[in-house]
């Protein structure tokens, strides 16, 4: 007799498939029967379908894989499976919301362009902040994973340093390393935000942040990272405005 957990898993899968079918049905019926102002529904449907499909924890090896994965998560120190699920739900909701805005704006030319911009930005931000191991970063080499290693072990360094002992693992001014998990998460966000800036400006911002945070008192590190994150939206706008000015001064590119 299957245990309670595997039954729960199967029920979840059924719900997931049901959601996918409902979303797909919305897409098809809207597109075929109501081609008019109902494009928003189409957009919602497409986004929801993609999101549900992409986020599904499809069981590996006949339905046991998902359960095994969930159990292994439970045994890993410091990882709360409920927290993981909550984060995943949040990410998927954000993706649906932002994609909907983007697609709706595309299909409703009467609308202002603003929702498109906001939607695309939010979608990129959400996608960029996802925990994708082994994801290649920018030239600085500061991928999200590298930053975590940097802060925990000191085995990976940033753009201008290599080898152990440099970067954030370098000698701080206090033995206390502070709340590593929270800081590591904020580091990932810093790296993601830097990707929203023009490339050279983003690289410099991240490199300066890394340099400063490697020397700051560990107890002040969290607040410092938060201050970088708080000022980041304004910086992104300012840097792109400057980049636009620079390109306007240079004029159109000539082939060759």
């Amino acid at each position: 007799m299957p245990d309670l957990d595997s039954r729960k898993e199967r029920t979840k899968n059924r719900v997931r498939i049901g959601a996918f079918i409902a979303a797909s049905t919305t897409v098809i019926t809207t597109a075929l029967l109501q081609p008019g102002p109902q494009w928003v529904l189409l957009a919602v449907g497409v986004a929801a379908a993609i999101a549900v499909a992409a986020s599904a924890d499809l069981p590996r090896g006949g339905g046991r894989g998902g359960l095994a994965e969930a159990q292994s998560l439970r045994t890993m120190p410091g990882i709360d499976p409920r927290e993981v699920r909550r984060k995943k739900r949040g990410r998927v909701s954000a993706f649906i919301g932002s994609s909907t805005m983007a697609i709706s704006a595309l299909f409703q030319p009467g609308w202002e362009w603003l929702p498109l911009a906001v939607g695309v930005s939010a979608a990129i931000a959400v996608a960029a902040s996802a925990d994708l191991p082994g994801r290649s970063g920018r030239d600085s080499g500061l991928t999200g994973r590298a930053l975590i290693l940097l802060i925990r072990d000191g085995t990976v360094t940033g753009s201008r340093g290599s080898g152990s002992g440099s970067g954030l693992a370098g000698p701080g001014r206090d033995d206390d390393d502070g709340p590593v998990d929270a800081t590591a998460h904020q580091w990932r966000m810093l790296a993601a935000v830097s990707r929203l800036m023009p490339r050279p400006a983003g690289r410099r911002w991240l490199a300066e942040a890394e340099s400063l945070l490697s020397e700051i008192l560990p107890v002040r590190r969290g607040a410092a990272i938060r201050s970088y994150l708080l000022s980041a939206p304004w910086l992104v706008v300012m840097m792109w405005a400057r980049e636009a000015q620079r390109r306007a001064r240079l004029g159109p590119r000539r082939p060759g």
């Binding site: 360094t157 940033g158 753009s159 201008r160 340093g161 290599s162 080898g163 002992g165 440099s166 970067g167 370098g170 000698p171 410099r204 911002w205 490199a207 300066e208 942040a209 890394e210 340099s211 400063l212 945070l213 490697s214 020397e215 700051i216 607040a223 410092a224 990272i225 938060r226 201050s227 970088y228 994150l229 708080l230 000022s231 980041a232 304004w234 910086l235 300012m238 400057r242």
Partner: protein, 108 residues
């Protein structure tokens, strides 16, 4: 666009003007002014864009020094004159505002 002399900008300029010829890096300036690094950075960027400040990467071997290179900022000759004039003409922030800023790390 003219530089707006907010309290934070004034603090950064005062910090740099204490010794106009001296180069300061972000953390040093942040400790000097009481501002959070994330607050000071956009100000330094604006000052650099206006030509008041110049900056450079420290030339070190990060492995030997066991830390990443710092970015050093220094007032330009013209920048020092302009900063002094601007601060002289600026409305001096009240002490209570400065205290609040120092307590809040410059984000207030």
């Amino acid at each position: 666009m003219a530089l707006r002399l907010t309290v934070q900008v004034q603090l950064v300029l005062q910090g740099l003007l204490r010794d106009p010829g001296k180069e300061m890096y972000g953390l040093e300036l942040s400790e000097e002014t009481g501002l959070q690094p994330g607050t000071a950075y956009p100000i330094l960027l604006r000052l650099e864009h206006e030509g008041w400040v110049t900056s450079r990467w420290e030339d070190i071997d990060p492995r030997a020094e066991k830390r990443p290179a710092r970015r050093y900022y220094r007032l330009t000759a013209g920048g020092a004159v302009q900063a002094s004039a601007a601060l002289a003409g600026a409305r001096r922030p009240k002490d209570t505002a400065l205290r609040r800023l120092a307590e809040g790390g410059g984000t207030a």
